[in-house]
C-alpha cells in the first residue's frame, strides 16, 4: 500500500506576517515576556488577535532556558483560553513552522502562529552545547561546536570552497564593519576560525503568522506562499560525515523544488562564515542571488529563532514585491540537519 503523502508543494499556505524582538546580547525579559510581545507584534498589523489563531507551535529549548518544561511557561504568551490547539518542538522555530505547515494541510483551520525563542545569555553557550553532543564519546570530552566548526572549516578550505580571506569577506558583508586585513590580523579562536568567523551570543524571539487560501489574500496584498518545504538530517557524529559537503541540504533543496525556478534572494542560516560558502556551493546558487542581506546569523544569532528569522526575511522579500525566495535553517553540529523553504508571490 502506498502511504498517503502530504503535498510537496502548495499554493494554499502562506506567510502573511512576522515580527522579531530586538536582538540583543542580554535581555531583561523572560522568554515568556519576549513571546507575549512578539506574538502581539506579529498579529496586530494584520488586524488579528489571538482569538483568530487556530493553531500554535512554539520552538524553544529547555537546555538553553535552564528550566524543565519551560515551554509550559511560554504558553502564557499564546492566549490559550478557551483551550487552543497547540504544539511544541524542541527545535528552532523553523521546524515549528514546518509542523504548522503540515497541520494547515489538514484543511480544517485557517490561521497558525509559530514562534522561536531563546535566551542564550542565560547560560554559557560554550559549556552548554557540548552537553548536547553524543553523550558517550563526545560530550565527556567537552567537544564544543566551535571546535567542530573549525574542523569543518578546514575541510571546506581543503576542498577549495573557501579560504580565510573569503571567510572574512562574508563576515564584513554580514556585519558591515572592518576590512579583510584588519580581520585577518586577529588571533585564532580555533584555527582557522577567528572571532569574526563566529556568531554573536544573542537573546531574542520571532513569531510568524500563516494563513491558508482566501484568508491569506484577505490579510495581505502579496502573501508569501510556501511552495516547497523539506528537511533532512545526517548522522549525529561529525566524524562519520564528509564535512566538505552537505548532502542533507542538497536533498532537501531538491525535494523542495529549488531548481524549478530562479530565486532572487537566499537567507541561509550560517552561524560560521565558512558555512555560508559551503551552502552557497551545495545549493548551486547563481552569483546574482542576494545572500543574507539581513546580515544572517553572523549579525544576530538568537538560538531557536535564528532559522525562523531566515524564513521571515525571505518572506519579507515576497511581501515587498519579490517573486521567489529561498530560506534555509539548520540544527546540530556542522550542519547536521537542514531545512529548505521556498517562498513565492502570487503569480
Amino acid at each position: 500500500m502506498t502511504p498517503r503523502r502530504a503535498p510537496k508543494t502548495s499554493k494554499d499556505i502562506a506567510v502573511v506576517g512576522w515580527a522579531q524582538t530586538p536582538m540583543v546580547r542580554q535581555t531583561d525579559l523572560t522568554e515568556a515576556q519576549m513571546l507575549l510581545r512578539v506574538i502581539t507584534d506579529a498579529l496586530a498589523p494584520l488586524g488579528l488577535t489571538r482569538a483568530d489563531v487556530d493553531f500554535t507551535c512554539l520552538g524553544s529549548c529547555d537546555y538553553i532556558t535552564g528550566q524543565a518544561f519551560s515551554f509550559v511557561t511560554n504558553l502564557d504568551a499564546i492566549g490559550a483560553w478557551p483551550p487552543k490547539r497547540d504544539s511544541h518542538v524542541e527545535m528552532d522555530g523553523a521546524w515549528a513552522l514546518y509542523e504548522a505547515w503540515l497541520r494547515l494541510h489538514e484543511g480544517d483551520i485557517e490561521i497558525a502562529v509559530v514562534t522561536g525563542s531563546g535566551r542564550s545569555s542565560t547560560g554559557d553557550p560554550a559549556l552548554i552545547y557540548p552537553m548536547e553532543m553524543d553523550p558517550y564519546v563526545l560530550a565527556p570530552l567537552g567537544a564544543d561546536p566551535v571546535t567542530f566548526a573549525a574542523l569543518q572549516a578546514r575541510a571546506v578550505i581543503a576542498a577549495g570552497l573557501a579560504d580565510e580571506r573569503s571567510m572574512a569577506e562574508v563576515a564584513i558583508r554580514a556585519r558591515g564593519k572592518g576590512t579583510v586585513e584588519e580581520l585577518l590580523a586577529g588571533e585564532y579562536v580555533r584555527e582557522p576560525l577567528r572571532r569574526h568567523d563566529l556568531p554573536p551570543v544573542t537573546d531574542g524571539a520571532a513569531a510568524m503568522v500563516l494563513a491558508i487560501g482566501d484568508r491569506a489574500d484577505e490579510l495581505v496584498d502579496r502573501p508569501a506562499y510556501i511552495t516547497g518545504f523539506d528537511h533532512r538530517t545526517e548522522c549525529h557524529n561529525p566524524a562519520f560525515r564528509r564535512l566538505d559537503d552537505s548532502p542533507s541540504t542538497r536533498i532537501a533543496a531538491a525535494e523542495a523544488g529549488l531548481g524549478n525556478g530562479r530565486v532572487e534572494v537566499a537567507e541561509l542560516q550560517a552561524a560560521f562564515t565558512h558555512e555560508e560558502l559551503l551552502l552557497h556551493h551545495v545549493l548551486e546558487l547563481d552569483d546574482d542571488v542576494k545572500i543574507n542581506q539581513s546580515g544572517g546569523a553572523l549579525k544576530a544569532n538568537p538560538i531557536m529563532a535564528t532559522g525562523l528569522c531566515r524564513i521571515g526575511y525571505a518572506a519579507d522579500h515576497i511581501l515587498d514585491g519579490g517573486a521567489r525566495a529561498l530560506a534555509h535553517a539548520t540544527s546540530g553540529p556542522c550542519l547536521q540537519q537542514n531545512l529548505i523553504c521556498i517562498l513565492e508571490g502570487p503569480s
Binding site: 515568556a32 564519546v137 579562536v189 576560525l193
Partner: protein
C-alpha cells in the same frame, strides 16, 4: 488599610538576575556495542565495528548512512594512528580533557575507516602537523569511559599516566555523565515586587484590568488577555482562606530532599478573591487532621526567623511560611475540591 489598595511605590529600576546551578547526574546504559568498546578501553584496547568493508570507530550499533543494524563484529584498531585534521584550543574550558592548550584532532587509528575525535597533547601549536603519528596516553585507573584515554601523544608507543591499575573486573555496562550548568536568569520586575511585599508580611495580587482576574506570585501578565501588568495592577490580598484540596507527600530520598516524614501541601482559596495559592505548607497541623473546607490564616516569618531562612528571600512569596488553622468553622462546599488553580 482596606484590601484591594496598594500604596504607591516606585517601580524597581533594574531587573535583578539570579544565578542557579543545575546538575544532572546521568547514568547511561551502554548496550552491547559501546559496552564492549568501554570494557576494552579498561584493557587498553580500542575497538571498532565492521560495516561492510569499513571499520567504524567508535563502534555503532547501526550503519550511520542507512540505519541498518550492524552485526556486532568488533575489531581491534590502533592503538596508534594518524592525525587527519586538527584545531588548536588555546584556552581550554573546564569540560576539556586537558588544562593546558592542546589540539582537538580527528585521529585515524590504524585499521579504522573513520576518524576518532580526541585531544592531542603536544605542548604548543607549532608542534602540530597534519599526518603526524600519535598514540594514546592511558589513564592509570580506567573505568570504562572515553576519558580512560587522557589524550593522544606524538609517536607510536602508548603510555600510561601513573601506576597501571589494570582492566575492569567485570564487563562495563553503565557510564556516569555529570552535566552541570550554571544559569543566570532575570527576575521579572513584578515578581520582585511581590517578593519584596511578602518580606513585609504582605500578600499582593495583580488584577488584570481587562478581565478582572487576580494572579499571585508576581505573574506579570494575564495569560488569558495576553497583556503585561505594571505596579498599578497590584492589590492587597487578605491573609485568610479556605483549604480546597491537599496532598500528603511521603518523601523518597533524592539529592536535596530534606524532609524525612510525610508532609502536606494544601491549596488555599483566598477570602474574597478568586485566587488559589497552590502547594502551600501547613503549620502545626498533623497531616491526618487536614480537611477540605478548613479555614486557615497565613503565617509569616518573624524577623528572628528571617535570618535563618536566607533562601526564603529568593522565594516568590518570601516570608510566607505556610498556613495554620484559624479556628473558624469549616466551609461546607462540595465544589471546593475542584479548586486547585
Amino acid at each position: 488599610m482596606p484590601y484591594g489598595v496598594v500604596p504607591n511605590r516606585s517601580a524597581c529600576a533594574v531587573t535583578r538576575f539570579v544565578e542557579s546551578t543545575i546538575t544532572f547526574p546521568y547514568k547511561r546504559s551502554l548496550g552491547p556495542v559501546l559496552g564492549a568498546f568501554m570494557t576494552a578501553l579498561t584493557e587498553k584496547r580500542i575497538l571498532g565495528v565492521r560495516n561492510g568493508q569499513a571499520i567504524l570507530v567508535p563502534p555503532m550499533e547501526w550503519d550511520p548512512a542507512t540505519g541498518a543494524e550492524l552485526a556486532p563484529e568488533l575489531v581491534e584498531v590502533g592503538p596508534a594512528g594518524t592525525v587527519e585534521s586538527w584545531t588548536w584550543v588555546p584556552a581550554p574550558s573546564e569540560q576539556h580533557p586537558l588544562n593546558q592548550p592542546f589540539a582537538f584532532a580527528f585521529i585515524r587509528l590504524d585499521g579504522a575507516s573513520t576518524p576518532l575525535l580526541h585531544a592531542v597533547d603536544v605542548g604548543e601549536r607549532a608542534s602540530m602537523v597534519d599526518g603526524m603519528r600519535v598514540a594514546p596516553r592511558w589513564r592509570g585507573r580506567r573505568i570504562g569511559h572515553i576519558t580512560d584515554i587522557c589524550c593522544f601523544v606524538p609517536g607510536e608507543r602508548p603510555e600510561v599516566d601513573g601506576p597501571d591499575e589494570g582492566p575492569a573486573d567485570q564487563p562495563v555496562e553503565l557510564m556516569d555523565y555529570l552535566a552541570l550548568i550554571t544559569y543566570r536568569s532575570p527576575i521579572p520586575v513584578m515578581a520582585d515586587r511581590a517578593r519584596e511585599a511578602s518580606l513585609q508580611n504582605r500578600l499582593i495580587g495583580l488584577r488584570c484590568p481587562t478581565c478582572g482576574r487576580v494572579y499571585v506570585g508576581g505573574t506579570g501578565m494575564c495569560p488569558i488577555d495576553s497583556i503585561e501588568f505594571g505596579p498599578d495592577a497590584e492589590i492587597e490580598l487578605p491573609h485568610t482562606g479556605t483549604i480546597t484540596n491537599f496532598v500528603v507527600v511521603t518523601p523518597v530520598q533524592y539529592p536535596g530532599q530534606t524532609e524525612t516524614e510525610p508532609f502536606a501541601r494544601a491549596f488555599v482559596l483566598i477570602d474574597g478573591f478568586d485566587v488559589v495559592l497552590s502547594y502551600q505548607p501547613v503549620i502545626e497541623l498533623p497531616v491526618e487532621d487536614l480537611r477540605i473546607g478548613m479555614r486557615v490564616a497565613a503565617v509569616w516569618a518573624s524577623a528572628a526567623e528571617e535570618g535563618d531562612r536566607l533562601s526564603g528571600t529568593d522565594q516568590p512569596l518570601g516570608n510566607l511560611i505556610g498556613w495554620i488553622p484559624n479556628g473558624e468553622t469549616d466551609v461546607n462546599d462540595p465544589d471546593l475540591v475542584n479548586r486547585v488553580y
